[in-house]
Symmetry: C2
Subunit: 205 residues, 2 copies
């Protein structure tokens, strides 16, 4: 049981690496099972012995992408301990880091968010867990801006802010919808976040 499962695992890892390289180079919709087989030196059928689907393989690549994003944001969070009195700056730094990641890994990022999987696909638990980890990076500085808010609301607002920044970046990077121009993304994220946090300070009227 050891030799085979070991090789299975090794093949799976090799396939994920090859798929990641191909996706990064030419986008997820140019990924071909036959190319992958040739890349790693196995037959097309072997892929299906290790993965149910090409979608399952792509999902593994996306899990890695999620973890990379998490690493990037965690690094910003670590830097930010010095900035505890200015949580907005941390939030802006997080947004900028995310934007930079998208620019440097556009195709992998697209595979993560754009690639539509069959509607009945069960999202693996690790993927869902990793997604929630992302939001948590925002919760920390946000909590310093919303000290009286309950945990639940904090979590929801963190998700909202991530979604908002994500939307801004998406519509500017994808040319099919003319959002904010790429040059304007950072200034706009900056303005959006600063204004929002300023609004948190001002009492409702």
């Amino acid at each position: 049981m050891s030799k085979t499962t070991e090789r299975r695992a090794k093949l799976a890892a090799t396939l994920v690496d090859a798929a990641r390289a191909r996706i990064a180079a030419s986008g997820v919709h140019h990924l071909r099972a036959r190319d992958l087989a040739q890349d790693v030196g196995c037959s097309v059928g072997a892929i299906y012995n290790v993965f149910d689907d090409l979608d399952a393989l792509i999902l593994q690549v996306s899990l890695g992408t999620l973890r990379d994003i998490d690493k990037t944001m965690a690094a910003v969070g670590a830097q930010a301990v010095q900035n505890e009195d200015k949580p907005v700056e941390t939030m802006i730094a997080l947004a900028n880091a995310y934007f930079q990641f998208v620019q440097e890994n556009t195709n992998l990022w697209r595979a993560l968010f754009d690639h539509d999987i069959p509607e009945d696909y069960v999202l693996p638990e690790p993927v869902r867990a990793e997604q929630n980890a992302l939001f948590r990076h925002i919760e920390k500085p946000l909590s310093l801006c919303m000290r009286s808010a309950p945990e639940e609301q904090l979590s929801a607002v963190a998700k909202s802010l991530f979604s908002a920044v994500h939307g801004l970046i998406t519509l500017s990077v994808e040319q099919r919808i003319a959002g904010v121009s790429v040059k304007e993304v950072k200034p706009q994220m900056d303005f959006l976040l600063r204004t929002f946090v300023a609004g948190l300070g001002a009492e409702k009227e």
Copy 2:
């Protein structure tokens, strides 16, 4: 030249209608050339005499979707003249109208934003024009909140707000990324917009 071009135009319109119906019913990635041909009673080849591509056909459907969204937002804008002293309410109403449209026309909306067209595809001018029209609906109430801002900034912020709301809706409607839960979308859009506008009022410090 008249009989043929007339028939061409009629066929094109019929095909777009059929495609819209199919997309609305089962999503853009289940659209098949052969099904369409059967729907409208022509051969598969005839489709390619009228459209370069299935993508070109889908783009025509999406142009219609854009116009429908525009109509929805225009209706809200017309309602909102009574509310000139409370521009935030108009902005929230616009966001809610957009969200409602997405919920009622999810598949058409997905075709508009998710369907990835070849990277070198030239976006038809009417599509681009219609997109800009959307942003303009937001500019009107926004200008009442940013009276001293130059036209250019106003336009950029309007795009940003649309993108932000769009991101919120996208990540909650698409199950592949667990954003804000569908139930929480309206409250969160409400909170986001109110807080942002409140921040516009408070001077920067």
